[in-house]
Structure formats: structure tokens, C-alpha cells
């Protein structure tokens, strides 16, 4: 395990509530510059909730500390976290009809920079990213995520990550719904975007993406908590044996590994 840089991201005692219901029940996590972490856990265990809450989703009540590059961001609205370099690749990217991909990207890149990016420079950057992720050119004038296939949406998420040069990227199941070739392209995109100054936390159900991404660390997430952490071999073990054995070891009922009422 390489722990080459300073912590680009950490959270301490993080708890997330929807109304009275506690979904994330105390998470401590640290990701250093240059590191890639994987977060694996059963459906409904609270992974997406954790990711959204870290980004500042207004629908949750959050307790605990969130630090980005050593500074507290838990009091900041989502767009301020984004401008400081936090990135969330959505499990379900949202469509915004009528807004072209190009206009959206330009607004996003400008926001991240804190200044309007000149048109020519932006075009070059966008073309490079499109080529990198093998996204057809005509997508620039299509409406954001509107009528995109599942795989196209995921590609576009990574394209955004590439253009927005995050300090810390949360990728929520960016590998789900991708065919084998697309998976490779996306993994390469992630590896490219995740330079030595960037930290990545990849939420996934599958070992396959990790073959390309080579995580430094794997966390097992159950019932709102990280219940185990280890090296890449832990992911292999999960793939082979499922989650029940861990649930038993940590004293959770296997059925309770997922929060009640989980969606699949």
C-alpha cells in the first residue's frame, strides 16, 4: 500500500440521517493523494447516501467532520465543495433537457476554475477528453444525459472528472452497466484523471473494475458502517465468498447487512 501523500480527504464520525432514520452510522475514512480506495457493500447498505452526504446533498442531516485538502467543508454547500475539487460521479446521472453537453461542461469547468475559460482553450480540452473516453463528437450538442444509455451516462461522468481535475473523486458505481470494452475505457479514464495529487474512492460491486484500477485499499461497508478494511485481496475474497461471512464475523445478522427496505 502506497501512502505517498497528505490526506486529500477525510471524514470523522460521519453520521447521516433521513428524518429520524440513521443511514450512515459513524464512518471514519482517510484518502491520501495518489491513492485509490474501493468501497464495497451490499445493496441498501448506505453507500450512495454516504457519497451524496459527503457532497452536501440538502436532503440529509449530517453529523461529523468532512475535510478536503485538510480544510473543513462540511458547512459548505455542494457547489463550494465542487469548486474546491470534490467530485461525485453519480450512480444515476441526472438529465437536464435543453442544456447542451458543451454549455454545461463550459459552465462547470469555469466554475471549478473560478473564471470563464476561453472558448478556444475549452474546445481543445473538451476534444481531448472526448477522444480519451471515446465519446462520439456529436454528444457536445446533445442535451445533458437526456436519452443517454446507461453506459453513455457513465462515460460522461468520467469525462467530467477528467475535465474538472478533482482533488478527491467519489465514484458511485461508475462501473455498473458498462460493457467490457467500455469498462476498460472508463477505468483508463479514471486512472488518467487520478494523478498523484488526486484521491479516489470508488464505490463498486465488482472485482472487474478493480483489476484495472488496482486499489490501494478496500473497505467493506455494511449497515451504515465500514466494518472491515484491507488490501486488494479483500475484494477478491468478497467476490468469491459474498458478504454473509463478514456479517457473521462482525456480529451482524446477514439479513441486517443491508438496511431494512433496501432497493436492489
Amino acid at each position: 500500500m502506497s501512502s505517498n501523500g497528505d490526506a486529500v480527504f477525510s471524514c470523522h464520525g460521519l453520521r447521516v440521517f433521513v428524518g429520524d432514520k440513521e443511514i450512515v452510522k459513524g464512518v471514519d475514512l482517510e484518502v491520501r493523494a495518489g491513492e485509490k480506495h474501493a468501497l464495497m457493500g451490499p445493496n441498501g447498505s448506505g453507500k450512495s447516501t454516504l457519497a451524496s452526504a459527503l457532497m452536501g446533498h440538502p436532503g440529509y442531516r449530517v453529523e461529523g467532520e468532512i475535510l478536503l485538502g485538510g480544510e473543513r467543508v462540511d458547512h459548505l454547500p455542494p457547489h463550494e465543495r465542487a469548486r474546491r475539487g470534490m467530485f461525485l460521479g453519480f450512480q444515476y446521472p441526472v438529465a437536464v433537457p435543453g442544456v447542451s453537453v458543451a454549455n454545461f461542461l463550459r459552465a462547470a469547468v469555469s466554475a471549478r476554475r473560478g473564471a470563464d475559460v476561453p472558448v478556444r482553450e475549452f474546445r481543445q480540452q473538451m476534444q481531448a477528453a472526448f477522444a480519451e473516453l471515446q465519446v462520439p463528437k456529436d454528444f457536445v450538442s446533445r442535451y445533458l444525459n437526456d436519452g443517454f444509455s446507461g453506459g453513455e451516462k457513465k462515460r460522461l461522468e468520467i469525462l467530467q472528472m477528467l475535465m474538472l481535475t478533482p482533488v478527491f473523486a467519489l465514484l458511485d458505481e461508475t462501473d455498473s452497466g458498462l460493457d467490457i470494452d467500455a469498462l476498460k475505457v472508463v477505468a483508463e479514464g479514471v486512472n488518467k484523471a487520478a494523478g498523484p495529487a488526486t484521491g479516489v474512492l470508488m464505490v463498486t460491486h465488482y472485482q472487474r473494475i478493480l483489476n484495472y484500477m488496482k486499489p490501494d485499499r478496500v473497505h467493506v461497508f455494511m449497515d451504515g458502517r465500514i466494518v472491515r478494511a484491507g488490501g486488494p485481496e479483500l475484494a477478491h475474497e468478497l467476490e468469491a465468498r459474498g458478504y454473509d461471512w463478514i456479517a457473521r464475523e462482525v456480529g451482524l445478522e446477514p439479513a441486517a447487512a443491508a438496511a431494512e427496505g433496501s432497493r436492489s
Binding site: S52, M55, G56, H57, P58, G59, P77, P78, H79, R81, A82, R83, F87, L88, F90, P93, V94, A95, V96, P97, G98, V99, S100, A102, N103, F104, R106, A107, A108, A111, R112, V119, F122, R123, M126, Q127, K137, V140, S141, Y143, L144, Q160, L164
Partner: protein, 474 residues
């Protein structure tokens, strides 16, 4: 790659007072006292030197106006606020109509300069009329079009110079007794546009009319008639603004379009009256065989707008479209829609209506599609989208379908959405602040409308929307 630097919508019309809401000192040739009567109608008709038949039509219309009850549907409460006795029905500004901006009275010229009309004319229009209160003060048309026989002038000149055409078509699409406000317009009409495009002539650049109200408690009743002869085409654009006053003004136009065989008319409106103007307009078109008529209708301003552009598809294979957006901000009610009458076989139509309601603004879609007996093989689609911003915003749809044939394809879709929390969050996660994000969502929402506008208008519309959205809370 098309990157567009247009800013979106932070606050529609927040700068209305400064940009359009100003008013000139009153300096008129004639300002009729408030209220309407047979004496006033007679006076207007005489001043205009009209033929007796037109004068007769006016007097009859006044009787019909008085006899007709107010509409009982729509926003009756708001309609009830109109005080017909407190309106000036006719105001003639000083100076004669001219085709030279330099001859327009200084004050009025300044106003139109400020509204950007002469500049627009130089840049991208084939002809312009500018109406101030009741009269058109400026008018021009490109010489080459005039040579081809294209007629574009104010309605009063049209009546004077081409009485046979006016007599034939005036009221042929919208009869006086169509509704209370068409009757009022017919009694009090003044100004508006008269357009005739000869057979086969294609007017490639838009013609524009601009309507300006200046006085308080003004009633503006322009009358427009557009005839596109066989195989011809024309795009007409109208814009309108008024000063902001604390008491109400009334704008009640009648617009009649006739598209002959194979002709094409597009009529674009950017309505941006101040929020003390009642805007009650009747617009209808006849589309003959293989003709195409499109109403592109943008409603941003006014206190209450009631307007349902209609197309009667009278000839086989005629096609009609109504594409509209309405923006209802604080205190506004946009009651708009469309009417499509399929009166001939194999006619097609499309209605796309988009509305945005913000704060306590209210927008209603009121639409009617009718397929007459014998009109086989028609196709029609209706799409209504409403976007609500804030908890108090309101939107209603009142669609009516009356289909008398069975081999007709009808599509109808209606959606109401809130500026979605998930959309906002997604955009915020990309660094856009909530205002910018909301603006982007709203701009995206109206994009299908905006892209139908000439570039200059698209830019202006986006700017207006941006102002209107400023500081809105979602």
C-alpha cells in the same frame, strides 16, 4: 462544437423599470377623454377619413361589445378588475407618419432608439413599423420587396390605399362577435399592420412591428391583417412594451392571417408588456391547401394575458403549429394556449406549450383541438410542459379534444415539473451555484422555443429570463 456564451436566467425582467418601464412626457396631438361611446367611435372614424362601411362596422361592433358579457371562464376575478370607463381609447401622437427616423418627433424617436428598434432595422429586418399609442409613427420596407409588390404598412394606410383587399378580408377570419374583446377592438381599432405578399414571393428576412404604450390608462387596439398569396412566404415579428404604472392599461388586438394555397406564414410575438397591462388578444389564421401557418408566441410580461392563437386548417394537407412559452412571475397570470381546427382531410398540427411559473405567478394552458366530420387522416400532437419554481407557483391545463373522425392520430402529453432537487444537486455538484443552476434548468426548458427565434431575439429572450430569475428561491 457549438459553445454558446449566452448567460441563462437569473431573474426575468428585474430591470424592466429601467429598460422598458420609463415613459415620455405627454405631448399629444389628440388625447381622447376616458371611456368609449358612439361619439368617440365616430370621431376616430372621421379623423381617419374612413369609408362609411368601416364606420358602420365600428358602430355595430360597439353595440356587440356592450351586449356581450365578460367571459366567465379564465381568470374572472382578474378580468373583473378592468375598468372600461378608466381607459383612453384613442391617443394620436404629434407628427405625421414617416419613413425617416429623423422625422419622428424627438421624444418618440428617443424612445424607440432606447428600445433598439432603428438598430434592429439596420441589422436584420426587411421592414419595420413602430406604433406609439394609437398610431404608427414610423414605417419602412426594403425597396426590393416593394418592387416585388409586397405591401407592408399600417392598417389605416392599408384601408386607405387598398380598400378592396381590406373590405374582403377584414373580419373574415375573426368576426366582430367572436368575443367581447374582438368586438371592442373592431369598434376602437387603430394602427396595426397590413401585409400582402403576392403569389410566389418569398420574403426571406423578417418584417417587424413594435408596439409601444406610453400614457397611463391607455388602451391600444391595433388591428393586423396578413395575407400570403399562393406559394408565398413571410415571417412577421412583433414586440411590445409599456411603462410601468400603478393603474391598469389595456391592450386588445385582433390579428387575422390568411395563408393561401401553398403559402407559409410565421408569426412571432415577444410580448413583454409591463405588469399593469391587461393583454387580451384574439389571433386566428386560415390555412388553405398545403399552406403552413406557425404561431411562435412568447409571453413574458403583462398582468393578465388571455391569448389562444388559432389555426383553421381549411385546405387539404395544410399544417399548423403553435409553439409558445409563458413566464408568469409575481402577480402575473398567463392564460395562454392554442386552438387547432382540422376542417379538411390529411391536415396536420402540432402544439408545444411551455410555461414557467415563479413566486405566486400563475400560468394556464387552455387548448382545443377539433377534427371536423370528414377530415380524414389528420394528425395532431399536443405537448404541454409546465415548470414550477417555488412553492407558491401555480400551473393548470385545460385541454379539450373534439374528434369527429376515427382515422385520426392524436398525441397528447402534459407534464408538470418542479425545478427538480436532483437536477439542482447534480449541477451544484459541478460547481454551479443554485441561481446559475436554476437558470440553466429553465433555459434548457425553453430551449425548444428559443431555437425557433432569430438569433437577436433569442439572445434578448435569454437575457430577459435571466433577469426574471434573479435571486429566485426554489
Amino acid at each position: 462544437m457549438n459553445v454558446d456564451t449566452r448567460q441563462g436566467l437569473a431573474g426575468i425582467n428585474q430591470d424592466y423599470a429601467e429598460r422598458y418601464g420609463f415613459h415620455d412626457p405627454e405631448d399629444y396631438f389628440l388625447k381622447a377623454p376616458k371611456g368609449i361611446s358612439h361619439e368617440l367611435v365616430e370621431m376616430i372614424s372621421r379623423k381617419k377619413n374612413e369609408p362609411q362601411w368601416m364606420s358602420d362596422i365600428r358602430h355595430q361592433a360597439l353595440d356587440i361589445f356592450r351586449a356581450k358579457p365578460m367571459p366567465t371562464w379564465g381568470d374572472s376575478a382578474m378580468l373583473g378588475e378592468i375598468d372600461f370607463e378608466n381607459i383612453h381609447y384613442y391617443i394620436k401622437p404629434k407628427g405625421e407618419q414617416t419613413s425617416d427616423w429623423n422625422e419622428v418627433p424627438e421624444q418618440i424617436k428617443k424612445t424607440f432608439d432606447r428600445l433598439g428598434i432603428p438598430e434592429a432595422e439596420r441589422k436584420f429586418l426587411a421592414g419595420v413599423t413602430a406604433q406609439y399609442e394609437s398610431e404608427v409613427v414610423y414605417h419602412s420596407i426594403r425597396a426590393d420587396l416593394e418592387k416585388l409588390g409586397v405591401l407592408f404598412m399600417d392598417m389605416d394606410s392599408g384601408l386607405r390605399e387598398h380598400p378592396e383587399i381590406v373590405r374582403k378580408y377584414f373580419g373574415s377570419v375573426i368576426p366582430t362577435r367572436d368575443n367581447k374583446f374582438s368586438a371592442l377592438n373592431t369598434a376602437a381599432w387603430s394602427g396595426g399592420s397590413f401585409i400582402y405578399v403576392p403569389k410566389g414571393v418569398k420574403v426571406d428576412v423578417p418584417l417587424q412591428a413594435y408596439f409601444r404604450i406610453n400614457a397611463e390608462n391607455m388602451g391600444q387596439f391595433e388591428r393586423t391583417l396578413i395575407i400570403a398569396d399562393e406559394g408565398s412566404s413571410v415571417h412577421y415579428i412583433e414586440g411590445c412594451t409599456a411603462p410601468t404604472y400603478s393603474s391598469d392599461s389595456l391592450h386588445s388586438a385582433v390579428v387575422e392571417l390568411i395563408a393561401m394555397k401553398g403559402a407559409r406564414i410565421r408569426y412571432t410575438t415577444i410580448q413583454n408588456w409591463s405588469t399593469n397591462v391587461f393583454n387580451l388578444v384574439t389571433k386566428r389564421a386560415h390555412a388553405h391547401q398545403d399552406a403552413v401557418v406557425e404561431w411562435v408566441d412568447g409571453n413574458l410580461g403583462s398582468k393578465l394575458t388571455m391569448k389562444y392563437p388559432a389555426i383553421v386548417l381549411k385546405g387539404e394537407r395544410a399544417h399548423g403549429e403553435v409553439l409558445s412559452i409563458a413566464f408568469a412571475g409575481h402577480g402575473q397570470h398567463q392564460d395562454a394556449g392554442a386552438k387547432m381546427i382540422h376542417a379538411a382531410p390529411n391536415t396536420t398540427s402540432r402544439i408545444v406549450s411551455k410555461s414557467i411559473s415563479k413566486d405566486d405567478g400563475r400560468s394556464s394552458y387552455r387548448g382545443m383541438v377539433k377534427v371536423a366530420k370528414g377530415a380524414h387522416g389528420c394528425r395532431t400532437s399536443v405537448e404541454c410542459d409546465a415548470l414550477l419554481i417555488g412553492e407558491r407557483a401555480r400551473s393548470d391545463t385545460y385541454p379539450t379534444m373534439d374528434i369527429a373522425e376515427s382515422d385520426v392520430s392524436v398525441e397528447h402529453e402534459a407534464r408538470v415539473s418542479k425545478v427538480g432537487e436532483e437536477q439542482l444537486f447534480y449541477l451544484q455538484c459541478r460547481g454551479l451555484d443554485p441561481d446559475k443552476a436554476r437558470l440553466m434548468i429553465v433555459n434548457g426548458f425553453i430551449e425548444p422555443f428559443v431555437k425557433e427565434l432569430p438569433m437577436e431575439y433569442a439572445v434578448e429572450l435569454n437575457r430577459l429570463i435571466e433577469l426574471e430569475m434573479e435571486g429566485s428561491v426554489g
